[in-house]
Amino acid sequence: MNFDEILQIPPYSLDKKDKEKLLTERLLELTEHHRENCQEYRCMLDAISYYGSKITSYYDLPFLPVRLFKELSLKSIPQEDIVKTMTSSGTSGQAVSKIYLDKVTSSNQQKTMVKIVSDFTGSGRMPMIILDCPSVVRDRKMFSARGAGILGFSIFGAKKIYALDDDMQLNVERLKEFLKIHSGQHILLFGFTFMIWQHFYKELVRLEKEGIRFDLSKGILIHGGGWKKLISEAVSPEEFHQRLKAVCGLNRIHDYYGMVEQTGCIYMQCEYGHLHASIYSDVIIRKPLDFCVCGIGQPGIIQVVSTIPESYPGHSLLTEDEGILLGEDDCPCGRKGKYFKVIGRLKDAEIRGCSDTYAAKFQ
């Protein structure tokens, strides 16, 4: 099955049965494709004695832990076909995921994202405010997750500005002028959850005390990157929404879940606060103890599958995130497919034994 054919199908139009058929067919093909073209992947499948012949559902396909992309260079294309290498945002010293893209996969990522996001924002470009600083995207050869997100979403922007300067200071004048030019229009805002809170929201609160207030009631904010850092500031998603609304009138706010290992297939949050899987990808929640599939309401490890990756074997991945399936095909927003909630990252193991833990403190 060709990816272009899949792209013709509206993102939230298939019910469970049709989606399962589509995903099973495409993901089985991708598994075989990567088995043929990625030696490491082939070794892994051999090691678990996976031969594919008996698979009737994509639920039974092997999944790779995302951490493998930090340890290994996994790709299914010759070196010369790489057009982009994306990396996860890790703090210095930490290993980062390396994701190799060729033209096809890179372009399919973008097309998919357009389909998904347009379902929430409407088609047609809008003036766009990027709630970050321009230096993040300067090195175009090595994309960090932050840079990739910004560039990915930039295609929805007609006129774009960066709200922050490279020192992460809000540029008040630039923002004022942009809003003046585009007053009355819908405006798209994009950024990472923690950055928005730290460098945008907090600054707006400060400015309000000085009598400066921005009206963003016509704005649509899309933000991602997780809540981990905000948990330490004790900010819940609900509070994030309420406080932003209070300070600048922002009303349409969509969180999304996604990862650099499966760029393109993001999971957007609907008006009811649910993250949605489109037909281009899916989530499967699995029990930590035996990787069996969890039912609705039962927390477990999130596996993500995507129909996009052709240049690297990342079409079926086991994340280290914990989530809960909330339902399937019946969200009040009308979108079909699974909807779910992300609980957070799994805790690192506390291991006994005499090998170093003292050493870790020195790094």
Binding site: M44, A349, A359
Partner: protein, 414 residues
């Protein structure tokens, strides 16, 4: 403080740095007193009786009952056990033996009772001990320390107060410097990185050092012997204690099971089934462990051809069958129930694995003599061979060192 020809030169610890040390047993004065106090003869009567008293207190402590590691420790410090050690180690050869003086122990941070064994080894050999104990608040540590303190209150053991000082501190090098400068022997438990860190602090010219570096251990099971054994539950229990009890992450925990004999497949099934049943009942599984072990399995899979991950019903026990014992296999090891397996036709196939200096213990089921041809090839690794279930049993010969010899001085009398 350093001692040169009987003159005491104090190396003063900057008082602000001293504030970083929390004294759990003893205080700063105890340390200063240690520099003046004499060493004792090994297995000194007061020490042996004191340890017996600590043992008695622990055995009677209701809270201690929940911790098999405390009970094992309490058993090991009984008077009868100390006397046995004395008979084994203390040679009556006409020479005088005496403790070396002050020992500075750096205990591993994630094994609760290890510090106590290190301390006892120091006391029995006649030394004063400064022990850096784990910063994590293990309940076992409080229970043992309470017993140590209680016994010290007795008038007959008062003299031992200047032989025991337990401390906690962060990673301050100044503190390492101070304790290292006054130590006659420094004992570093932990791993390679800890050793490198502590070695930034220099020792006195005549001082010695014992380092317990990163090691790995293996198990060899004679399948035919195993199948003949009537108590397979016991063997499972023993192997569980060797591995899962410390998250299979101690230097003594077998990382690979090597099968010898004829009935390998039958033995494997019984062995792993019995172990799995126990793990299911006793082991506290952490959600991330399944992902960790899956990651390790795949990393092993790409390192060599023909690696097979045995299919399992759950993530408690992961077995990875390797077709040969290749170089670097042990760099792929993992913990928390992740076992390599190898079918061995000739014991000498283990030569490469055991020639690695990091190889510490071979735990076996069967006749230990099956291993002798391997040992006789002059391998550079392997410090001990013990029956399965005994890998954690502490002894004054540990990790290839004779601690009695290392922690005493011999006065040659001709």
């Amino acid at each position: 403080m350093q001692r040169y020809g009987g003159v005491v030169i104090r190396m003063q610890l900057n008082s602000s740095k001293n504030e970083n040390i929390s004294y759990v047993l003893g205080d700063r004065e105890t340390v200063e007193q240690m520099m003046l106090t004499s060493a004792l003869t090994p297995f000194h009567e007061t020490v042996v009786n004191y340890l017996n008293e600590v043992s008695r207190i622990l055995m009677a402590d209701k809270n201690a009952k929940a911790y098999p590691d405390i009970i094992t420790f309490a058993f090991w410090i009984r008077k009868a056990s100390s006397i046995q050690l004395c008979q084994r180690f203390y040679q009556k050869d006409g020479n005088f033996y005496i403790g070396r003086g002050i020992l500075f122990h750096i205990a591993p941070s994630n094994v609760p009772v290890n510090y106590a064994y290190s301390l006892v080894a120091g006391l029995l050999t006649g030394n004063a001990n400064i022990v850096r104990i784990p910063s994590r608040d293990f309940p076992q540590i409080n229970i043992i320390n309470d017993a140590l303190k209680e016994a010290l209150k007795l008038i007959s053991y008062k003299m031992l107060r200047e032989y025991i000082c337990l401390v906690r501190y962060g990673r301050e090098q100044e503190v390492n410097d101070w304790f290292s400068s006054i130590a006659d022997v420094r004992i570093i438990w932990g791993g390679d990185a800890t050793i490198a860190e502590i070695r930034k602090s220099s020792l006195a010219p005549r001082a010695g050092e014992i380092t317990f570096a990163d090691r790995f251990s293996i198990a060899v099971i004679d399948s035919d012997n195993y199948l003949k054994n009537g108590d397979k539950k016991r063997i499972a229990e023993d192997f569980y204690n060797d591995t899962y009890l410390t998250d299979q992450n101690a230097c003594t925990s077998p990382r690979i099971v090597v099968w010898v004999g004829k009935e390998k497949e039958t033995a494997k099934k019984e062995f792993w089934d019995n172990l799995h049943e126990l793990v299911e009942r006793k082991y506290k599984f952490q959600p991330i462990q399944g992902i960790n072990k899956l990651t390790s399995s795949y990393l092993a899979a790409v390192s060599q051809d023909n690696i097979k991950v045995e299919p399992q019903d759950d993530n408690l026990l992961i077995r990875v069958k390797v077709p040969r014992l290749f170089d670097g296999l042990m760099d792929l090891k993992d913990n928390s129930g992740y076992f390599f397996e190898y079918d061995c036709a000739d014991i000498l196939e283990l030569r490469g694995l055991c020639d690695d200096k990091r190889c510490q213990t071979i735990a076996y089921v069967g006749d230990k003599e099956m291993l002798f041809p391997l040992l006789q090839t002059g391998i550079k690794g392997v410090d001990r061979i013990v029956p399965i279930g005994k890998t954690m049993d502490f002894d004054l010969i540990w990790d290839g060192y004779n601690l009695f010899e290392r922690l005493t001085r011999q006065i040659d009398c001709q």
